[in-house]
Amino acid sequence: MQTNSLYQEVILDHNRKPRNYGTLEHASHHAVGHNPLCGDRLDIALQLEHDLINAISFHGESCAICKASASMMTTAVKGKTRVDAEALIDEFRDMATGKMDLNDPHHLGRLTVFSGIRDLPTRVKCAILPWHTLHAALNSMTSVSTETDDEPTQAITGNHT
């Protein structure tokens, strides 16, 4: 197990300068993800138009792995259809939990920098939290821009590893 290989420059860079970090003015979908075990909290907002993710942003408190995963996720799904995004969520989950052979065809691209996480069961949920939250957001009918009083959809990762 090479734990240091996890903290590669790509991940450190996205942690230092997260892309699409902040809030979204006209979000149509929104979810909050929690990792109750470490107190991490991630807020994801996106704008879906004709089933296309037009805009996406995130913010919250988390470890570097979670933040970098969220940052890279937003760049990966921006401009994708909901279906493609959902497929990528599944692939990422399978990679992180070690269910995927990276030699098989996939669409993860640079996201494979997270493949080492499979050897660190306690950290898998850090990497997956943004993806869970995105899934929750995509399936939420909550439009936070118009119904701000609504409880945002909760994505909670527990001991699923």
């Binding site: 197990m1 090479q2 734990t3 240091n4 996890l6 903290y7 450190l12 942690n15 075990l37 470490c38 107190g39 991490d40 408190e61 988390s62 470890c63 570097a64 792995i65 660190l120 950290r123 850090c126």
Partner: protein, 419 residues
């Protein structure tokens, strides 16, 4: 032997021979990622020395049968050994009688036993239970469950910035509705040693019984329950170099006798008909079912092992480690120690500016260093310091100063990675 050889190892002010002690712990020879294991997560669970492992093997290979039941040789032997373990625990905490020592599955189980057996019987609506900010979740949640069921109230003793209890505030919490206090002896999250004897004495002046969560105290402080005067005292074997799945609840006999049993079943009865069951005398009343016999005997062996070294000696050496580590930590810019009580056990909780504890833990692991990261099952403490989590190094008597150096080097590596 020349003079240099003769004086080697005497440089440290403790009289413990750490290398000899380390040789008793086979797990300390492990390599992690090719690096020697530096185990600094002793507050979560400590490691088991060979004599305790051997005792478990001897029991399992030559002495095992169910206890308190049959008249055959093995059952008699197992029953006797199980009872001997109870007596070792009795002596370890200086309880008046062995029947005041109940085997439980651990601290959590012991606290739940008191909540169920004492709390549900004696605590009513509007009664108040005193806890402290420093409590482990296992000494919060059971009382919350009880409070919810009964309509009782939880009152909480605050801490200052150093992580010390506000004793004046504690005293002010008492009123005529106060029915119970359940207090942590040593904080697992910060290491604070509370003035528990003084707190018990004050509660008793008010006529309030006290349970002490001694999970972190028993490994570091000689415990004398008669001197403390506590009504109940709980701790787990696995933090005392013993097996998991076993711990004890000490309770004053008069309390234990007045309490409801927590679990019903075999071994806890005097007689059973479908109309009525008469419960066995203590401690059996609280030990329903087949207990973890091997674990209890292993617990006894762990107590023998620690007593042979001496808890006093252990505490003195661990204090040295803590002082050394604190000094080293204070020399690293960007590292903050959380919990700076005057009286502390060998626990060092810390944060590093701008770096999440989980990232710290994972990178330290690469150097073979095992620390705990997270909320330490003490979320109210984390909230008090406004942090989601901390990293925690906790030392045992088999740790060395050079291991603290490895930790410090690791921390500097973490800072470099995130520069």
């Amino acid at each position: 032997m020349n003079l240099a050889e003769a004086t080697r190892g005497i440089a440290v002010s403790t009289s413990l021979d750490i290398e000899k002690i380390r040789a008793d712990f086979p797990i300390l020879d492990l390599k992690i990622d090719g690096k020697p294991l530096v185990y600094l997560d002793n507050a979560a669970s400590s490691q088991m020395p060979q004599p305790v492992i051997d005792r478990l093997v001897r029991y399992q290979t030559t002495q095992h049968a169910n206890i308190n039941r049959a008249v055959h040789y093995l059952s008699e032997t197992a029953t006797m050994e199980y009872q001997k373990a109870r007596c070792k625990l009795q002596q370890f905490i200086n309880a008046r009688e062995d029947r005041e020592v109940i085997f439980t599955s651990g601290t959590t189980d012991a606290i739940n036993l008191v909540m169920q057996g004492y709390g549900r019987k004696f605590i009513q609506a509007d009664d108040e239970i005193i806890l402290t900010t420093l409590e482990h979740h296992s000494n919060i949640v059971p009382w919350q469950m009880l409070a919810q069921e009964k309509g009782a109230k939880i009152r909480v003793v605050p801490i200052n910035d150093a992580g010390e209890l506000d004793i004046e505030a504690y005293k002010k919490l008492f009123n005529e509705r106060t029915k119970f206090a359940s207090l942590i002896h040593v904080s697992n999250a910060l290491g604070t040693i509370n003035p528990i004897k003084e707190m018990i004495a004050y509660a008793h002046q008010q006529g309030v019984p006290v349970l002490v969560d001694g999970a972190q105290a028993a490994p570091h402080i000689p415990i004398d329950v008669q001197d403390l005067g506590c009504d109940f005292y709980a701790f787990s074997a696995h933090k005392l170099c013993g097996p998991t799945g076993i711990g004890i609840l000490y309770g004053k006999a008069q309390h234990l006798e007045s309490m409801q049993p927590f679990k019903g079943g075999g071994d806890m009865i005097a007689s059973v008909t479908f109309e009525k069951t008469t419960y066995a005398a203590i401690p059996h009343k609280f030990e329903a079912g087949t207990p973890p016999i091997a674990a209890a005997i292993g617990f006894g062996a762990a107590i023998d092992y620690l007593s042979a070294i001496g808890i006093d000696q252990i505490a003195a050496y661990e204090n040295e480690l803590l002082a050394y580590a604190t000094e080293q930590f204070n020399c690293v810019p960007g590292v903050n120690i959380i919990g700076t009580a005057t009286h502390k056990a060998a626990v060092l909780s810390f944060t590093i500016d701008g770096i999440h504890p989980h990232d710290i833990g994972t990178i330290l692991n690469h150097d073979g260093v095992a620390v705990r990261t997270g909320h330490h099952c003490a979320q109210p403490v984390m909230q008090r310091y406004n942090v989601p989590a901390t990293s925690r190094a906790s030392f045992a008597f088999y740790n060395k100063k050079t291991e603290i150096d490895t930790l410090i080097t690791g921390i500097k590596t973490v800072q470099k990675v995130f520069l």
